[in-house]
Amino acid sequence: MKLVTAIIKPFKLDEVREALSSIGVQGITVTEVKGFGRQKGHTELYRGAEYVVDFLPKVKIEAAIDDALVERVIEAIEGAARTGKIGDGKIFVYNLEQVVRIRTGETGNEAL
């Protein structure tokens, strides 16, 4: 089992969600985050005080998926989230030790 984490541009969330649904991923967790990579921040000016803000708002999607689906999930996210401009984001894949469905107690692949 793998945990696929993707940091994407906020406005791409709906497209990515749909792309994931269409290949059979049934549940995801979404968090609002901020960060930067190569995309520049901006300067804010409040009267005489200037602040350089490096952090940009992003969205983090996490999905626990079966090993067999990993390639297709990465492809789906990449395709949906790409704009071609700096700041599109990254995908991280982690090994997932254990998954439990709280309602039923199912574990492993049945819980995915």
């Binding site: 804010e44 000016l45 009267r47 005489g48 602040y51 803000v53």
Partner: protein, 517 residues
């Protein structure tokens, strides 16, 4: 145990003070020199107090007047209603206007502390005004401070006979109930002190703020209000013989001929200097210049600025003390100057930094309002537009270039806006009051209430008088502020601890948070 004893002492003190106030006899205190002739007929039931020339209040008192005295003036209902509305408008300016304007500019962890400091300062000063502030400012004393004729507002109305004392306006034979005048002026005292809070926001002890306010209100606000605004009133000037004697009873700066319609010196420069001194003496916020201290809600700041604009019509136009043409002039000048200043700040900012910001527009509005305050009823409409525009540009410099030069952490730019704007406005009042520039000039002879002849108005001379008033205010407020802050520092300390400052004053000083998810 200690807290219990302090609370009991405070409570006992308030009860004693309260019962002293209630124990005042209905008959007014002996009346000083300045009364309208008609009032002398019935001193017992006519409250003819010391504040700017009072005419008899009770309708019954009109008889038995000396031959040449006119019947005692009675307040006009329109004037009275307008002044009560103006009072309301100035309250609106402070709570919630100023409170939100300041509050939105600080970090969210300090929002409530700013709201508290503004609201509680305002409330405390209003109470002190009723107790002794009004008396010190608006009764006859010497050229620098008044006396105690109106301690606890005694004599301001007679509860036994149901008569009310009157206060003079700027027109002969026109009066308003003195209670309304006192209430109106109470809001001025309150907002002036509340303004100072912005300079040391986010790091000062709550008790220290209040203690400082008591001292500064007593020794700087009341005297300067007395010096600039206290005089005998137009009805006292009955003939040429009394002019010199009457002038000598007026405040020091009034006597000098300084023009300050609604408080450029008394309110803005006074508070701004106190703020700047405070910013220096309290010290910079931890992390100033390194950490982000961006405003947490410019939306609320804009709401606050808008309430300030609306309320300021009461502040300026109400300072005419009646609903007449000069109130209307002050009204329209308040309108025009502010609009011009918004444009000036926005244009200046966009030329200088590339973008015009919301905070800039809101600050521009306040800058224009400050600048037109001393000028409101003293200049023509064109003059007001110029004052607003110049004020806008000047205050933009005040919060950028000047702020860097001064090197203090004047958190909410109290000096940058109120100090610079007040000074610019006060000086330009001397220019644009000139009849040659569309202004009404000033009254040269209160016996006949005639204005100065256009040819006799010297812009240079008047600007010099204005400059002296500005300098006097700066020095007086500066000295009082230094002493007051020092006293507070030596007794209870000015600043909160570093951990408290980092965590935020809302939770550490007031035990609450503004925004709970």
């Amino acid at each position: 145990m200690k807290k219990l004893l302090i609370s009991l002492a405070l409570g006992w003190g308030i009860l004693t003070a309260g019962s002293l106030a209630l124990a005042q006899t209905a008959a007014p205190a002996e009346v000083p020199a300045v009364i309208a002739p008609a009032a002398e007929a019935k001193p017992a039931d006519v409250a003819a107090p010391a504040a700017a020339a009072m005419a008899a209040a009770a309708p019954a008192a009109a008889e038995a007047a000396p031959a040449e005295a006119a019947p005692a003036p009675v307040p006009n209902k329109g004037d009275t209603a307008w002044m009560m509305v103006s009072t309301l408008l100035v309250i609106l300016m402070t709570v919630p206007g100023l409170a939100l304007f300041y509050g939105g500019l600080v970090r969210s962890k300090n929002m409530l502390s700013v709201l508290m400091q503004v609201m509680v300062t305002f409330s405390m000063i209003v109470v002190l005004w009723f107790i002794y502030g009004y008396s010190l400012a608006f009764t006859e004393g010497n050229a620098f401070v008044g006396g105690f004729d109106r301690l606890f507002m005694k004599g301001i109305w007679d509860n036994a006979s149901g008569t009310f004392a009157n206060a003079a306006t700027f027109s002969k034979g026109v009066v308003i109930p003195e209670i309304v005048f006192a209430a109106f002026q109470a809001t001025f005292a309150g907002i002036t002190c509340a303004l100072i809070v912005g300079a040391f926001a986010e790091r000062m002890k709550f008790a220290a703020v209040l203690m400082f306010m008591v001292l500064w209100f007593t020794f700087s606000y009341a005297p300067i209000a007395h010096m600039v605004w206290f005089w005998a009133g137009p009805d006292a000037y009955t003939s040429a013989e009394v002019v010199d004697k009457l002038n000598a009873t007026a405040g020091y700066l009034w006597q000098s001929g300084a023009l300050d319609f609604a408080g450029g010196t008394v309110v803005h420069i006074n508070a701004a200097v106190a703020g700047l001194v405070g910013a220096y003496m309290v010290g910079k916020r931890i992390g100033y210049g390194k950490e982000s201290m961006a405003p947490h809600s410019l939306t609320l700041t804009m709401v606050g600025a808008s309430l300030l604009w609306v309320g300021w019509f009461g502040f300026n136009a109400g300072s005419a003390l009646e609903a007449n043409g000069f109130a209307a002039l002050a009204f329209i000048n308040t309108f025009g100057a502010t609009a011009a200043a918004v444009l000036a700040w926005s244009i200046g900012e966009s030329l200088h930094k590339g973008k015009a910001s919301m905070l800039g527009a809101a600050s521009g509005a306040v800058a224009g309002l400050v600048a037109i305050t001393p000028a409101a009823g003293n200049v023509g409409i064109g003059g007001a537009l110029v004052i607003g525009a110049v004020g806008g540009f000047a205050c933009l410099w005040g919060v950028t270039g000047l702020k860097k030069m001064l090197g203090a952490d004047d958190t909410l730019d109290v000096f940058g806006v109120h100090g610079v704007g007040g000074i610019v406005g006060a000086l330009l009042t001397g220019v644009f009051a000139s009849p040659s520039l569309g202004g009404p000039g000033y009254v040269a002879d209160w016996v006949t209430a005639t204005g100065v002849a256009a040819a006799d108005y010297s812009i240079g001379a008047q600007v010099w008088i204005q400059a002296k008033a500005v300098l006097t205010t700066i020095v007086w407020s500066g000295v009082v502020s230094v002493i007051a802050f020092k006293l507070v520092d030596l007794t209870i300390g000015l600043r909160v601890s570093e951990e408290d400052e980092r965590e935020g004053l809302d939770i550490t000083s007031h035990g609450e948070t503004a925004y709970n998810r």
